[in-house]
């Protein structure tokens, strides 16, 4: 099988996952989820390895990986900021939050800051609609946002990182 030379990941990590699911049909999505948890994204060589071991064509694996918004083909920042653009958040002004974040970080939906600290992703509902507008940064959810509140949360994280 053709392996891509543009990225060199430690494939023994994904091999363990592949062993765990060997013989379980229909587990391609679960495998991709675990692989992404390991590498932070889905590097091309990992996709090829998954294709090879699961008996799928690389096109099929790639097709699944690009169908679902959860999967990423590029590395992401240390802090993943998911800004809700669901109905309730939209009605309560999530666009203004998006604009403020864009101005602060210089990136929009799908972007990652140059220092690799933040990635921004717009999502369709975080299920905290009654506290809208809402965003999630890694595991933490923040509700009742205003542009200022969103910025102070981001600045706090950045200050913490600068201090080390």
């Amino acid at each position: 099988m053709n392996t891509c030379s543009c990225s060199k990941s430690d494939l023994t990590l994904v091999d363990k996952v592949l062993e765990e699911y060997a013989g379980t049909p229909g587990s391609l999505i679960a495998i991709l989820q675990k692989a992404q948890a390991i590498y932070g994204y889905l590097p091309a060589d990992v996709i090829y390895r998954i294709a090879e071991k699961t008996g799928n064509s690389p096109a099929k694996v790639m097709g699944v990986a690009t169908f679902y918004t959860q999967f990423r083909l590029e590395p992401v920042g240390k802090y993943m900021l998911m800004l809700c653009q669901g109905t309730a958040c939209h009605v309560n002004g999530s666009e203004r939050i998006a604009a403020a974040i864009q101005e602060e970080l210089g990136i929009g939906d799908g972007g990652t800051t140059e220092d690799g600290l933040f990635s921004v992703k717009h999502v369709a509902c975080l299920g905290c609609c009654s506290l809208s507008p809402v965003m999630m940064i890694n595991e933490d959810t923040y509700g009742s946002l205003t542009p200022d509140k969103a910025l102070s949360i981001i600045r706090e994280i950045r200050a913490k990182e600068v201090q080390g």
Binding site: P25, G26, S27, L28, I29, A30, L32, Q33, G63, V64, F67, Y68, T69, Q70, F71, M82, C84, Q85, G86, T87, A88, C89, H90, V91, N92, A99, V123, A124, C125, L126, G127, C128, C129, S130, L131, S132, V134, E139, T141, Y142, G143, S144
Partner: protein, 583 residues
Amino acid sequence: MRVIVGEGSCGLAAGAGKVYEALQTKLEGIESASLGITGCVGMCWLEPIVDLYNGKMLAKRLVHVAPEDADDIAAAVQSGDLSLVDRITIRKEDEDFLRKQTRIALRHCGVIDPADINDYMADDGYQALEKVLGTMTPEEVIEEIKVSGLAGRGGAGFPTWFKWKAARNAAGGPKYLICNADEGDPGAFMDRAVIESDPHSLIEGMMIAAYAIGAAEAIVYVRAEYPLAIVRLENAIKQAREAGKLGKNILGSDFSCDMRIKAGAGAFVCGEETALIESLEGNRGMPRLKPPFPANSGYWHKPSNINNVETFANVAWIILNGGDKFAAMGTEDSKGTKVFALTGKIKRGGLVEIPMGKTLREVIFDIGGGIRDDKEFKAVQMGGPSGGCIPASLLDTPIDYKKLSATGAIMGSGGMVVMDENTCMVGMAKFFLDFTAKESCGKCVHCRIGTKRMQEILTRITEGEGREGDIELLEELCAAVKDGALCGLGQTAPNPVLTTLRYFRDEYEAHINEKKCPAGSCAALLTYSIDPSKCVGCTMCARKCPAGAIAGTVRNPHSIDPEKCIRCGQCLAACRFGAVSVG
């Protein structure tokens, strides 16, 4: 005294985790106190919430609790003088929010500890499963559900007993039972709340259904964005298996069924049952043509039954209390209760469970307290991207599958997003078409291309580029997509456009003909101006303006050059004298 912190996702987002930590420190050493957690009681606008219990009796409910309140709470618990926390006690009118509800699906939410099976057992938990396995045949179970009139709470409202019977009678095996916990409607969160707050009622409902149809395996497909729900459900499945409530020979009977979770990966269309099955099989979530229906050919092309979380959450209650008691509530057409997620420009946003047949007005005004900042009610959006906007003139519509469909909206999964005078209805239609165009899986042409073209037209209308004939073109596209799409996503995608055209056509016309947005929301159609009589010349707005569109000198009135203005609204936000206006 038991001190219970509400730790649903919304409570945690509001800071319940920090409150819990503070209480842990302050309550240490107080012998009469114990600290615990519960799920989401549905009064989200009051989070973080802390309940003080004497045994099983709720003595006091504290709201908007901050970590700094832990001292007072500890003092109150230690001395027994609860007046020490009067300051943060829930107000009487807010209590009415719960008092006016009838809770079946949400019966344990915010009451029991979701992490402890014993708490569930102490509240009649797993007794319905015991009754079913000990005394009822599968046919009798299906008959009881038929009597209850329970219909699917995931959107379509199809009679639950019918689907169970079809799966039971289907030839071949093994059979599968699937729970749809994909909760795709942005603005709905009752399924998340049930799983986070009362995971065992889902498990119990599913085991009863599995027995009724003869399923050997049960799978819960949970939305990717719900990490806490997955953790709580995993824990509950483990406890239930250890306690013999699922797995081999459940409760000592010869019925066996195990359960597992499948985490979704983020695709709205996977809420559609056949797309969900494709996704379970590890494929792109593209819908299959129906028939055959999943009851005959579902997961791995075996007989499968799919129900929504809320549907299952009603099952144990119906078995214990009788289908007739459930059917006694509601209307001719719609039985029992329904949970709604009340959000948007509403005063009291949260979860509301009421008997069918109450009016929209009762839910939004009586229970929800009406519109925030006492603005004018404009519309309520129901059914998400498949639904529509219901105007003020129809507020007295009873909540019932048929009556809601007659408005052009649908019951849907129960999202109710309330909008006020400042929400642009063309903008709302565009918002939903942005959504469906992005989420269309691309399998059929009508949905893939049709939603895109509608989105483009709506975009140009909101940007002041609308043309004569656009409304007619939209109507034509709506009809074509409705007829031609393969699955429910495409077939219902025109609904947000059709309902806004039906009730708010004048707003479309104002955008197209006068290049005006009556709600003052579409940025491209706004003009900002400064009232010279109010402007004191503080220069604040000029300094904030990123486009250099504001001219003026210190202590003299400023003015905005409309040619340069990019309509960002920063001047409006910056002015402390109310001199900037927008129209």
